[in-house]
Amino acid sequence: MTGFGLKSASAIAIAALLVAIAGVRGVLAPEHLAHLGAPACWTIGLIAALGTALVMQGWQPAVASRTAIALQARRLAIVEGVVPRELPAFAQRGLLFVGIACVAVSALGNHAAAKLAALPSELATPSPSRYCLPKVAAAPEVRAAPAPEPVEQPGCALVKRAFQLGYAKTLGSCAPKLAVATPDAPVATKSDVCERRQLDEPFLHFAARRLGGAFGNAIAESPIARLEHRIDDVRTHVDYLGGLVADIHHAIAGSPHAAHHIWINLPDPHPTKLTEHFTGEPRCSTRFASLPLWPSWQAGDESRVVEHVLGQLLFATRFGTTASCNDYTIHWDAPADACTALRAAPSTFASASVGAVLDRRKRQLELGELAKRLGRPPPLAPPAADAIVSFACLSVGAGKPATGTTVQIAGETVSVREVGIAAIKPTGDGPIEVYLALAAMLGGSTVLPAPHSAAPTPAELDGDDFSLTRLDALTFADPFAGSRWPLDRPDLVAVYPFERHLHAFVETFRRGYLAQRGRL
């Protein structure tokens, strides 16, 4: 029994695989190959030749394989101890050369070849960070004297206008007087002394100069005073060691920069799917990336309405600066009295994210004190605790105006705001109620726009003629100012200027809300 040598089979397989990959990537297309310049072709050939030579050292194509692929009972099998048939050595070399050349063609283009060709000269060029390079003497800038500007004379505007219009023949005393322009005096520039190595400076001289400089610095100050200063520094750092370590821990662990929790007694609009247990839930920023302006809802979409309105108010980029999505946690399926329970026992509601944010803020305050003690400029003070941590509750089932109070968590005052909606109507003007309620809950108060005097009545829009003019009146029918009747008419909803009204409302809301919030 004989077989086909594994070396030959491997050479064919490797070459076929690499050629196929190169073909899929399109680098074997005639246009691509024709575009390659001579340096690129030479470099590809060199790399392929070197690579093949290197591989062939271990491959030993002249020696037959000890293992072979053979047909046994109509199946391919790997057999040993046979004398297999092999491709000639030059053919194996050729196959591997082709494969490696394909890799080189994929990786190298004209630009890469040019960069490789320029590498030796770039390495030989003295670096400005290591050597004092001679400054190119710039030609002295000759500044021409600026054109004289006419002097404005008080009381002459009317005379000039009359002259331009032809009512007056001369300007008289208002004729332009030219200011005398003087050429700029040459500006003295300060040049820095270069302490790096000179181009013609021997290395030993440079080393001696650097050592001498370092020694001079060392003896410029009393070593005892320097040591005392150093000990003081270390002691101060040790005093704040907890804060320093915790700050590093927060940075490495990626602690949140703010934590705002919202409890809603509605079912989760996106219950976790089975696959999401493995792949994870979609990121908040992905979920709110492209919210439709005014989706059409139906009964049963109450949770989606609330989620959509929250997204529009806080995260939709079309309305300008947004809040940071990762700082917000929405607790669906919450009890209706979540905020009552929160006020009674705030620490039980303080999740890990709240603790981490408050601790991170505390550490930043400590680092500010450390900087002060070391005589360094202190870092920017972190925002107040109630700007980076907040709690809010939306309860659906009983109408209740927005109210606010505070609770103490870890010694910090944190705001708790809640609002109640009797029922959510997903259709018609129902979402407007949700906008108003959530804006009041998040922002504390909502300044409603005044109704526009040109807001149309239903009768004004129902004429037989001038349809466009009548529809244009919807521009003044702001639903947040009370003109909600158009939202109950599907024919008007299709052409309603939602962008205009929503933009104005959300922008006003964010102006007030984002000013109350901050991030670490």
């Binding site: 439709p292 079309r318 004429g463 001038f466 349809s467 466009l468 244009d472 919807l474």
Partner: protein
């Protein structure tokens, strides 16, 4: 029986829905038919808005503008359709040309109205380019569809940008396009 009820329901809904594209087509035809009288009708309605509706001192009411335009058309349905476009365009000047540009035109031109019309035409042309990119053959349907969907897309324009048209209410978008497309040779 159920399918019959469904068909009746769909037919009723279709009948109740306004034929917006049909109206756009009528307005487009009306503007095209005006031909050289376009500018004359535009000037008459502009003058009527100033004299009868005091457009110079405050934004004129829709009822006043409609009455003034109706008076100019004397019951001609085609004229009324074109006048509807003119009146809507009169009301949408602020949406297309920002205040800084309007002040510049007022100071720098001998005839403000002519300069403003030229500036508006430039802006309408930018909007018409969006229509061309939509690539529909039926102009009226294409205008209706573009203007219905355009408001939902994000349009962020730098202040003073002349080649960017912000979000527009449906009627203003349609009127601008009908005026531009209808006036094209």
């Amino acid at each position: 029986m159920k399918s019959l009820a469904l068909v009746v329901m769909l037919a009723t809904a279709a009948a109740a829905a306004p034929d917006r594209a049909g109206y756009v087509a009528r307005a487009l035809t009306a503007v095209q038919q005006l031909g050289s009288a376009r500018d004359a009708l535009d000037a008459k309605i502009y003058a009527a808005a100033r004299t009868q509706c005091h457009a110079d001192s405050a934004a004129p009411t829709i009822a006043c503008l409609i009455d003034a335009a109706r008076a100019q058309c004397a019951g001609d349905a085609s004229c009324i359709a074109a006048a509807d476009v003119i009146v809507t365009n009169l009301r949408s000047v602020d949406a297309f040309v920002d205040e800084v540009t309007r002040v510049r035109l007022l100071r720098g031109s001998a005839d403000y109205r002519v300069a403003l019309a030229a500036e508006l035409r430039r802006r309408y042309a930018v909007l018409a380019a969006e229509l061309v990119l939509a690539g529909a053959s039926d102009e009226a349907h294409a205008i209706d569809e573009l203007c219905t969907k355009r408001d939902a897309a994000i349009h962020v324009c730098e202040p003073g940008a002349t080649d960017c048209i912000p979000s527009l209410p449906y009627a203003r978008c349609v009127a601008a396009l009908v005026w531009y497309v209808g006036g094209a040779p």
